[in-house]
Symmetry: C2
Subunit: 121 residues, 2 copies
């Protein structure tokens, strides 16, 4: 463990990128690409997960509401209780087609995963 | 505005680094170096601010509890209501001497700035 960037409870934002994501069965789904932080509250709104593709080709970014992720100390990664098919069908964008993140889009993302929006918690 | 990384409400974690920090009088204090995120809650616990020094020499990292910062849309930066002297006297570390971030240290940081710990909110 690199105690300069990670402690038991804290992780440096710059180090979250690249953290692995698994499903409940321990299968590898993808990696965290970046976090989207609500500037005012300081709450992480989304973990943007890179998923699919091969050697970076065809890979898409899937914004996952933070509340869908749980950190697993043992696997040193995040767990989401989603199947590959659920992920595939979810809101996603290619690198050069990032959405505007307006409330319509954000509501759609939260609706898809059936969780309460972070601005309404 | 680069809408690929920043929206009105959201900012990509990877882009927070480098955001400027000002005091209430509009004076420039430093820059955000990185964020420390509570892995489980997804709350940003600290903005680690680089402060002091000259051309990177003698610069120190000051963990500021997130609740001490307010985002200012107009200045496109964070405001903390602290003087230079208050900052200078606060908990800080050099690049190669990062603390262990244990609860003693964290309590001291919050105590210095007189704010409630993020784990107790």
């Amino acid at each position: 463990m690199d105690h300069h960037e990670e402690t038991t409870n804290l992780i440096a934002g710059g180090k979250v990128s690249g953290t692995e994501v698994y499903n409940g069965a321990g299968e590898h789904l993808g990696q965290i690409h970046d976090l989207m932080v609500d500037k005012r509250s300081g709450k992480v709104a989304y973990a943007v997960m890179s998923f699919g593709g091969f050697l970076g080709i065809g890979e898409k970014y899937h914004p996952l509401p933070w509340s869908t992720l749980a950190y697993d100390e043992r696997q040193r990664g995040y767990i989401v209780n989603l199947t590959n098919d659920q992920l595939k069908g979810g809101p996603a964008y290619a690198d050069d087609l990032e959405p505007e993140w307006d409330r319509d889009y954000e509501s759609r993302v939260h609706g898809y995963y059936g969780v309460r929006p972070y601005w309404d918690q």
